[in-house]
């Protein structure tokens, strides 16, 4: 079973995403901010990180940069998908610079979410 972290400070979105991805047979671990993501990643291995950009304590952009800078090659290469209402009008290039592979706009379209998660967890074999 593929393991996915969902970092999102809104518990509504977090619970919903969890539920939907669990039905798709993923194991979902929730995190409330970027620091929690780093903590969890430090303890265990994951296949994908879904991350809100706008989070307290450590936002998604900083978190993505921190992950990419990890010494462990496997951990630093984990795919990151941003889930964002894009309040700061980041461009895709901005995301790429921070190490974010792709993004899903808010409000969430769940067809889009499921498809994206499938895509990134499947190509994550190498």
């Amino acid at each position: 079973m593929k393991r996915v972290i969902i970092a999102e400070d809104s518990s509504v979105i977090q619970n919903l995403t969890k539920k939907i991805l669990e039905i798709q047979n993923y194991e979902i671990i929730g995190a409330k901010n970027g620091e929690q993501v780093l903590e969890k990643l430090n303890q265990e291995d994951f296949d994908l990180i879904l991350m809100d950009i706008n989070m307290p304590v450590m936002d998604g952009m900083d978190c993505a940069r921190a992950i990419r800078a990890l010494p462990n090659k496997t951990k630093s290469a984990i795919p990151i998908i941003a889930i964002t209402g894009n309040a700061k009008n980041y461009s895709l290039a901005d995301f790429k610079e921070a190490g974010i592979n792709d993004y899903i706009p808010k409000p969430l379209n769940f067809d889009n979410l499921v498809e994206m998660v499938h895509r990134y967890t499947e190509t994550n074999v190498n």
């Binding site: 809104s10 509504v12 919903l16 539920k19 706008n54 964002t84 309040a87 409000p107 969430l108 769940f110």
Partner: protein, 1229 residues
């Protein structure tokens, strides 16, 4: 005896110990040299109490101490310097011989103590002497000093005891009792002669024998227990056990055992037994007889019997080899035998030997016990060579059944000649007689059983019911068929003893008639009768019953047997025959046609009574008369006969009948030849008077002609109307195209407010006009029967989602809420015409919205009301809270051009055709439409339709899945388009709208020009009119595609044939998309948007503004929730909305807090999150509101933020109210 021996042994041991200890203490041999001179030794011994005497190497006594002299009661002079051998008589042992005493002495070769006897002064002494050798410096022996002990007294005692012992032993040996002694370990110490003889062991065997070896295995544990208890209480007890002889024979013994103990530890057991085998055998033989008698009755078959007999015998005698030989047709077989194969040597196959011995037994005609040599003799005379050993002993007895020698039962042993004796033979003889009887009985039983089984099989295999009954009305035997009848028709379980076994009860159960029949049979008569029987379900059977008296040898009848046979079929066919005869007769009597029969000469032999009525002749006049007298067949009568012979029957023959009054009746007849055994015998026929029918037919024909004529006229006029409508609609559409297009264009120019208002009105009017036009066209089409419903797979859920999508906003604009609920029992996918279904739904929904007061709620629900096979009947209802409709108006509602209240028509708009169209459409979907309403309280419109349920594997494309078209480089480039239309107005409208939207547009007036332009230019998209002279749009498209361009641009058809079926036709003919005329600016531009991903500009006219004005979205978009359910399941909904409720409340509180602290960014962050989650859940109004405020916060710090948050708070309350509604109505499926 035991005591004697014990004492001897004990004293010996004591002596040995004391000698050694004294030696160790005083004269350790290794210390001897150091000790100094011999004299020292003798000096010390002189005064010692130890007896001592010393000799030199020649045996001369050189020293004798005081103690020794005192013992011997003599002076030292009597002994000193004399040879020791003169006075001391040494007892010889294995290592010591008196003869070479001196040799041994010199060699220093004896150092064990020796016993010596001394005769002195008529007195005898016994000493035990231990030698101490003294050597000189050269190591030569100089002296041997004996240290001694007087054992004279002990010896005396021993001798006496030995004597007594021998006497006792003799006594024991002569006793016939079995005497044995064994120690606590079970090691045998002694056994008397009788014991040895009985058990077959000799003295040598005894040395290694233990108790366990001689106690029969099964008795060992018991014996051990018994010995323990004897050892514990030390008392004589009656003791019984079974010993086993060397040859394995069991010996039953009884007697006493005494246990000797020392210091409470059992040392020895002495047992005195007598052999009780004979008694036991007698007892066992007795019980054996009983048991064998018992076995013969309990054994199922002979094999078990033989085995049981063997087991019983074996429990008394040890039998390793047992055989039952039977003679049948002078052949000897062995149905049962047991053979041992554990005596070391291979036991030969017994059968050959067994046969000879059996034959020998037959010859001698008496029980035989034959020993090995006898057997050998017999085999020799019979010239039989046997490999391997012969039995030591063989015992055999013949089995005599009904005075005939039928077999031999025998056993033998390979182990032991005295294994068996004549008593065993007697036992066997006795058993043989029992066994013969048992075998005989068993054989008879088996025979009887077989016989019974045979009879039973016959009894049961019959289809008849068979039973017998005695005078007391007890059923004495019965077969299963009878049991079935009782259980099926009388509800009687035959095994149940409670049912009627008396005459009275029997009468109650079966009725008096049965009792009468039985009684008659008991008198000796055979009774036969038929009887009818019905079960509770009125299943009736008929039975043919025979009751036969069973006569005893004395002629009395105590029982009767009954056989009953089910003759229902036969009986029913008899009854049916009688009934059909009756029926036939009735028909014959009441027939209106004339039925006749005549012989081959034409003489009437039978005629139905109807002939009298029709022809006016009396029956007597007709019978026997020639048929030709009344019957005029148009063809020749002779020919008729020939034809009949050839064809056997003639049908629908025209004829006339002459009546008594001379009238000629028009008739139609069927005539048939009747055969008997292939020979024609008679002719029968049916004649029908068709004069009246003819007349009626003529009249009907003229009426039909008339009708056909008028129908043709009507059809023609209908077609005219249809064509008129079709043409007209097309003709109207074309100018409408110009009107509507131009309105859109005007709207996009700079207008003042007044002008804008006028344009809006024109636009609304033209749209209404178009709507009416479409409705008229639809209705006329339906009425002309031209509306063909398609049958495609339709996902019902999607249909309603589309409906919701179409109307939820409109409802919102009217301040109404729209909800829909789909019942769980609805089929997933059905075959239906979704466009038409949506048309009905849209008509009803738009009516409901139109006629609802603001703040009203519209509920749409659907459920399945019936399902037969794979057809589903579905009922949909649309309930509004509008003005309601009076009963009177309800009746008119579904008629054409009817809107309820003319005075308010203007308020509500519409053609009034919607319901009429809906009614027609539901009719063509095999459904109905109707309304329930109360004035002022709203209306519920409903309709039903039938649809075939599609199989589960039919795939439906998700309607929300938007076709992507091209996602290419045009995003930021000006699109280059071609508009092809022969009509200049249309070209202008389309061209202008597109140019306004920022596209570059070319125009072509014909297909030909279009081809040229496409060839020369690279267009991104082509709009193509369909109806053009010379080369129409479809043809042009075909040609464009065959030009061989690198990339053919998408081609969108434009046509006034605004009907759904056209769309698919165009798509199938090579067009990529379809746009109905009249062209609306919005639709035209959205096509460009869809196909080219182009964001148009400069068209923010009133028309577009109108669509987006104050659209705050829905409180809760049901479709969004429905989509969530699709991914996450229904059950996630409630917790999700609760989550949202809680979180949003928190966020609002946080916003207010942040505002207090002037933390605008804090407010913005909360709103940002809120926007995301609200949007995701389809809580659009909150999402929109949060978004607006967030956008403002990004730009500046609005002063009225508090007010704005209040609005948001209002929105949230609104959500809270409605969210519960979502669940109350359970409208989300």
């Amino acid at each position: 005896m035991k005591l004697v021996e014990d004492n001897i042994k004990q004293s010996n041991e004591e002596l040995a110990v004391s000698t050694v200890s004294s030696t160790n203490k005083t004269f350790d041999k290794s210390d001897k040299d150091k000790l100094g001179t011999l004299t020292n030794l003798h000096e010390s011994l002189e005064q010692s109490k130890v007896l001592s005497v010393a000799i030199d190497v020649n045996g001369k006594i050189i020293f004798i101490n005081q103690a020794m002299l005192a013992t011997l009661k003599c002076e030292d002079t009597e002994l000193l310097n004399r040879s020791i051998l003169n006075h001391f008589l040494f007892e010889e042992s294995e290592s010591f011989k008196a003869d070479n005493f001196l040799e041994l002495l010199k060699k220093n070769d004896f150092n064990e103590s020796i016993t010596a006897r001394v005769h002195l002064n008529n007195e005898k002494f016994h000493f035990r002497l231990s030698p101490i050798t003294s050597k000189n410096h050269n190591g030569e022996i100089v002296c041997v000093t004996f240290i001694g002990e007087n054992i004279t007294e002990r010896r005396k005692v021993r001798d006496t005891l030995e004597k007594t012992n021998a006497q006792l032993k003799e006594l024991f040996d002569n006793s016939s009792d079995l005497i044995q002694i064994f120690n606590s370990e079970g090691v045998m110490r002694f056994a008397n002669e009788a014991w040895k003889n009985k058990l077959g062991y000799n003295d040598k065997d005894l040395e290694t024998l233990t108790l366990k070896d001689i106690v029969q295995e099964e008795y060992w544990d018991k014996t051990k227990e018994k010995l323990k208890s004897i050892a514990a209480v030390e008392n004589f007890e009656k003791f019984e056990t079974v010993l086993v002889s060397k040859y394995g024979k069991n010996i039953f013994v009884s007697g006493r055992i005494h246990c000797t103990k020392e210091n409470d530890i059992p040392i020895e057991f002495r047992g005195i037994f007598y052999d009780t085998s004979e008694r036991v055998r007698a007892e066992k033989a007795q019980s054996l007889f009983y048991k064998i008698a018992n076995v013969t009755t309990t054994s199922y078959n002979l094999d078990i019997l033989y085995a049981s007999i063997y087991l019983q015998l074996n429990s008394i005698l040890k039998i390793q080899n047992f055989a039952v030989a039977l003679k049948e047709n002078s052949q000897i077989t062995f149905p049962y035998y047991i053979s041992e194969a554990a005596v070391g040597e291979e036991i030969p196959e017994y059968k050959e030997l067994g046969k000879i011995l059996a034959e020998y037994t037959f010859e001698r005609r008496k029980p035989l016990m034959i020993y090995e040599d006898g057997i050998r003799r017999i085999t020799k005379t019979k010239k039989l060579k046997i490999k391997g050993p012969l039995p030591f002993i063989w015992l055999g007895v013949q089995l005599i059944i009904e005075g005939e020698q039928k077999g031999v039962i025998s056993f033998h042993s390979f182990r032991d000649r005295p294994a068996y004796n004549h008593k065993d033979l007697e036992l066997l003889d006795f058993i043989s007689s029992q066994m013969s009887m048992a075998i005989e009985r068993k054989r008879q039983e088996i025979q009887i059983k077989n016989q019974n089984a045979r009879i039973k099989a016959i009894f049961e295999s019959s289809t008849h019911e068979i039973w017998s009954i005695d005078r007391n009305y007890n059923i004495t035997s019965f077969n299963q068929n009878y049991a079935d009848i009782l259980s099926n028709f009388y509800d009687i379980n035959i095994e149940d003893k409670l049912w009627g076994q008396t005459r009275k009860k029997h009468e109650q159960q079966f009725g008096t008639s049965w009792i009468e029949h039985y009684e008659k049979a008991f008198e000796g008569d055979v009774v036969n009768f038929q009887t009818e029987l019905s079960d509770i379900t009125d299943n009736t059977i008929w039975r043919d019953v025979f009751i036969n008296p069973i006569q005893n040898p004395d002629g009395k009848v105590e029982e009767v047997s009954v056989i009953a046979n089910n003759i229902t079929e036969k009986k029913l066919s008899e009854i049916a025959l009688a009934e059909s005869e009756e029926k036939f007769r009735t028909i014959f009597e009441s027939i209106q046609d004339i039925y006749f029969r005549c012989d081959l000469s034409g003489k009437i032999v039978m005629i139905s009574p109807s002939a009298t009525e029709i022809l006016g002749f009396e029956r007597e006049e007709l019978l026997g008369a020639d048929i030709g007298k009344f019957y005029n067949i148009q063809s020749e009568v002779d020919n008729l006969f020939e034809e009949l012979s050839a064809q056997k029957s003639i049908r629908n023959l025209d004829a006339t009948l002459s009546t008594n009054s001379g009238e000629q009746l028009q008739c139609l007849c069927n005539v048939r030849m009747i055969y008997h055994k292939n020979t024609p015998i008679q002719i029968e026929g049916v004649v029908r008077d068709i004069s009246q029918l003819r007349k009626a037919y003529e009249e009907l024909k003229s009426a039909k002609d008339l009708a056909e004529k008028s129908l043709k006229v009507a059809e023609k006029s209908l077609k005219v109307k249809e064509r008129f409508l079709a043409n007209m609609s097309h003709e109207i559409r074309t100018p409408m195209n110009g009107v509507i297009g131009m309105i859109d264009l005007i709207a996009s120019t700079k207008l003042d407010e007044e002008q804008q208002d006028y344009v809006k009105t024109i636009k609304k009017s033209s749209e209404t006009l178009l709507h009416i036009l479409n409705d008229i066209l639809d209705l006329s089409k339906i009425e002309a029967g031209k509306m063909e419903l398609r049958s495609n797979p339709v996902k019902i859920k999607y249909t309603f989602e589309k409906l919701y999508d179409l109307f939820s906003r409109q409802a919102r604009v009217n301040q109404n809420s729209l909800y829909y609920h789909l019942a769980d029992n609805l089929p997933n996918v059905v075959y239906a015409d979704e466009t038409r279904l949506l048309q009905i739904l849209s008509n009803l929904t738009s009516n409901a919205i139109k006629f609802s007061k603001s703040g009203g709620t519209i509920h749409i629900s659907a459920k399945e009301i019936k399902r037969t096979n794979n057809k589903s009947s579905i009922r949909v209802q649309i309930k509004d809270s509008g003005i309601g409709i009076s009963d009177e108006d309800q009746k008119k509602l579904f008629n054409s051009f009817m809107q309820v209240d003319n005075s308010i028509t203007k308020n509500y708009g519409g053609t009034g055709l919607g319901l009429a169209i809906s009614k027609e459409l539901t009719k063509s979907m095999s459904g109905e439409i109707g309304v329930h309403s109360t004035l002022g309280l709203g209306s519920t419109f409903w309709f039903t339709f039938k649809a075939e349920i599609a199989p589960g594997d039919v795939t439906i494309e998700d309607w929300t899945h938007v076709e992507s078209g091209f996602t290419d480089e045009f995003e930021n480039k000006q699109p280059y388009l071609l508009v092809v239309d022969d009509n200049s107005i249309n070209r202008k409208v389309a061209g202008q709208i597109l140019k306004k939207a920022g596209c570059s547009v070319d125009e072509a007036i014909s297909g030909k020009e279009a081809l040229k332009k496409v060839h020369n230019n690279k267009y991104d998209l082509i709009f193509m009119d369909i109806q053009m002279p010379e080369m129409d749009g479809i043809k042009t498209t075909e040609k464009i595609r065959s030009l061989g361009l690198d990339k053919v641009p998408p081609i969108v058809a434009m046509t006034a044939y605004s009907m759904e079926e056209d769309r698919s036709r165009f798509l199938s003919q090579g067009m990529d998309d379809y746009l109905p005329k009249p062209i609306k600016a919005k639709d035209l531009i959205s096509k460009v948007k869809d196909w080219l991903k182009f964001e148009p500009k400069g068209v923010d006219s009133i028309i577009f503004a109108e669509d987006n004005s104050d659209d705050e979205g829905l409180i809760i978009n049901q479709n969004t929730l429905s989509n969530l359910c699709r991914h996450g399941g229904k059950e996630i909904l409630r917790p999700l909305l609760e989550d949202f409720d809680r979180e949003t409340q928190e966020q609002l509180v946080n916003c207010y807090k942040a505002l207090k602290n002037d933390d605008y960014e804090g407010v913005r962050l909360e709103l940002h999150t809120m926007k995301g989650s609200a949007g995701t859940l389809g809580i659009e109004r909150i999402a929109k509101c949060a978004e607006t405020i967030e956008a403002e916060l990004k730009k500046n710090k609005p002063k009225d933020l508090n007010k704005k948050l209040e609005v948001l708070n209002e929105r949230f309350k609104e959500f809270q109210e409605n969210s519960t509604k979502v669940f109350d109505d359970s409208i989300v499926n």
